[in-house]
């Protein structure tokens, strides 16, 4: 039954960061040993604070960065060995900011058609028709075919980006914060559209967002990233109902749902996000963790399989999984 379209095995990506004139460069492990399967047809949500490596991971999946070590397979092909154009046929991105991801000097029709041109589609006479079809599908009026991005609203631009991503029928779409630049009323339209298109084309999504309400709504499985590692991964329902890792719990506590009278929660996360060039020892989350124990600063936490997923935390080593907080959910 397992039919992964993306398979990552111990993927790392290290950047060398200069720390000043005449000083040695230091390694920054942006992605630090990630193993992950994305099954066909699922929506994998990736959440985490800025700097946790989620965009680096996405760029490696897109073939825009090569992993420093580890392997990444896309639909059975090794990324890096495959032709870039071949990768683009399988997988397409939708970026955050529709104001900067569209070429302002190209017409909407040309922008959407570009993947066909790049991939040397053999039937140029059908391009115009296919472009109009996809515009219709994403809810763009065909009269904007000859318009330029500056003449469209933010929501329409994001529809253009979606149309461009889908015109060559990819299998996987990587959405990096697809709605965070949009207004609430437009965001819901784009999310609805993404849901419809997924059903229509049988797409697999990797959805990166810091908006946990959006992730909860869209994703079927969620991976929580912290400092280049996946610290918890599970089915969406399980992860949101019984978060296990203290970091996941703190993240979920920070979500402000529109329910008046509850006030702003105190997440007790205290210290700021650590400097990724000089990460804390042992479990990298220990300086901010509310449940920190003696071994946390010393030992790297074990990866514990739990029902439906995994968690990387000392709390659950050796079957001590009872410590998952109980009944706390109702307080949120």
């Amino acid at each position: 039954m397992s039919d992964p379209v993306i398979e990552a095995r111990d993927v790392t990506r290290t950047f060398m960061i200069g720390s000043g004139f005449m000083r040695a460069k230091k390694p920054l492990h942006a992605v630090n040993g990630i193993s992950l399967n994305v099954e066909r047809g699922e929506v994998l949500g990736i959440v985490g604070e800025s700097g946790c490596g989620k965009s680096t991971l996405a760029r490696m999946m897109l073939g825009l960065l090569t992993p420093t070590s580890g392997t990444l397979h896309l639909d059975g092909q090794l990324v890096g060995s495959a032709d870039r154009i071949e990768v683009a046929r399988i997988l397409q991105p939708i970026f955050q900011d529709p104001y900067s991801s569209l070429n302002p000097r190209k017409s909407i029709g040309n922008i959407i058609m570009l993947p066909l041109r790049v991939q040397k589609d053999p039937n140029p006479e059908t391009w115009r028709k296919r472009t109009e079809e996809i515009m219709d599908l994403v809810g763009l009026p065909t009269r904007v075919f000859n318009n330029f991005p500056s003449q469209l609203s933010g929501g329409q631009r994001q529809r253009v980006a979606i149309a461009r991503a889908l015109i060559n029928r990819p299998k996987i779409v990587i959405c990096d914060e697809p709605t965070s630049a949009l207004d609430v009323s437009v965001q819901s339209q784009i999310l609805n559209l993404l849901q419809d298109l997924r059903a229509e084309f049988g797409l697999t999504y990797v959805l990166i967002s810091h908006n946990l309400a959006v992730i909860e709504h869209m994703a079927t499985r969620v991976a929580v990233m912290y400092l280049g590692r996946i610290v918890e991964q599970n089915e969406t329902g399980a992860l949101f109902e019984t978060p296990m890792h203290p970091y996941t719990q703190a993240l979920l506590d920070s979500v402000l749902t529109p329910e008046p009278g509850l006030g702003v929660p105190d997440t007790h996360l205290g210290a700021a996000y650590p400097n990724p060039v000089d990460p804390p020892s042992g479990c990298t989350f220990h300086p901010r963790c509310a449940a920190v124990m003696d071994q946390c600063p010393k030992q790297f936490p074990p990866r514990v399989a739990v029902r439906g997923g995994m968690v990387e935390c000392h709390l659950y080593a050796g079957g001590a999984g009872k410590k998952a907080r109980k009944g706390k959910k109702n307080e949120r």
Partner: protein
């Protein structure tokens, strides 16, 4: 009720654009009591930031402000000259901007920028100003504050920069703080911390707060009172409970259907949407501004000027031709806007 810190009646802002006059803000009225938080919520382009800038008198040159009443702690702001206004800015009223990256000066140390406001407004020595800066930096949760005074904005993370902005705001203990999207650029965890901090500081110093945001979650958790803004007008005002539990205006109802609420919205189900786009505000707009996108629109909506009308409860108002009963019925039947 105690005398409000800020009393605004019929505030309008017109901006001259090549195609005519853009009526960015149209006759809005509100007041803020001491220690109270008013949230102004709306989508981009509805005029919420212009409202804040007009209160601070920081509008661009092409914009004109007019108001029947504009009183800060009893003082008439509309009659003040620029020099008198700058005596108030950062002193009696202060503003936190959205982007902590661009609102701090990269060429000066944060200590220098923090002390500046106090040295400008108060007759204090350098060391007094420095002590106050250290005190406030610690108050906003920055450790090792004295050592940080010499640092420059680029050496701080986004969350820290926003904390510095908040500390800067508090240097002269202003009676009113205007915060324009103070947490939009930040992570959810930092956002919760900053909002928690603002609420604490508000309680401790009895500061009034006007918070401008598009995030309904923030509004629900922080606001005492809420004003929903659409196309330059307030379309609904009331307490947070009134606006969120019994939204009356079709726009407010539509907005609340657009956002997925963990635990309430069915996962993967279609969200509500508000079709159409915000009307062009250049020139005079007849009738209800929301008419072009409203699911309950009829002929009466398209002409005349609508006033805010009372809903069931006191202090809850909305701007719509429909009666409170009809609005409650719409909410229940869930005709998605």
């Amino acid at each position: 009720m105690a005398k409000p810190i800020l009393d605004v009646e019929n505030l309008s802002v017109d901006i001259n654009v090549p195609s005519g006059v853009l009526r960015a803000v149209q006759n809005i009225s509100f007041s803020v009591a001491r220690g109270e938080t008013l949230c102004i919520v709306g989508e981009s382009g509805c005029g919420k930031s212009i409202t804040a800038l007009s209160l601070m008198n920081l509008l661009p040159r092409t914009a004109r402000r007019s108001a029947d009443t504009l009183l800060l702690d009893g003082q008439d702001l509309s009659s003040l000259r620029e020099r008198e206004m700058s005596d108030l800015r950062g002193n009696a009223m202060a503003m936190i901007f959205q982007e902590p990256m661009t609102s701090l000066n990269p060429a000066y140390s944060i200590g220098n920028q923090l002390e500046e406001a106090m040295r400008r407004h108060r007759n204090v020595s350098n060391s007094e100003a420095r002590d106050r800066a250290v005190f406030l930096l610690e108050k906003v949760g920055i450790t090792g504050a004295r050592g940080r005074l010499g640092q420059y904005p680029h050496q701080l993370s986004g969350g820290l920069r926003q904390r510095v902005m908040i500390a800067m705001c508090l240097m002269c203990e202003p009676a009113l703080i205007l915060a324009d999207e103070p947490t939009t650029a930040l992570d959810v965890t930092i956002q919760a911390q900053i909002l928690h901090l603002l609420a604490e500081l508000r309680d401790e110093f009895e500061t009034s707060l006007i918070l401008i945001t598009h995030d309904l979650g923030i509004v629900a958790r922080v606001a005492d009172r809420v004003a929903v803004m659409y196309a330059g007008e307030f379309v609904e005002t009331g307490t947070a409970e009134q606006v969120f539990n019994a939204p009356s205006h079709p726009y407010t109802q539509g907005l609340l259907r657009c956002i997925p609420i963990p635990g309430k919205t069915k996962r993967g189900a279609h969200l509500g949407a508000i079709p159409g786009i915000v009307p062009n505000l250049v020139g005079r707009l007849e009738g209800c501004h929301f008419a072009s996108r409203c699911p309950h629109v009829h002929d009466a909506c398209r002409s005349g000027q609508l006033a805010l009308r009372p809903a069931f409860e006191e202090s809850h108002h909305y701007r719509c031709v429909l009666s409170p009963e009809a609005c409650a019925e719409n909410l229940k039947s869930g005709v998605a806007a």
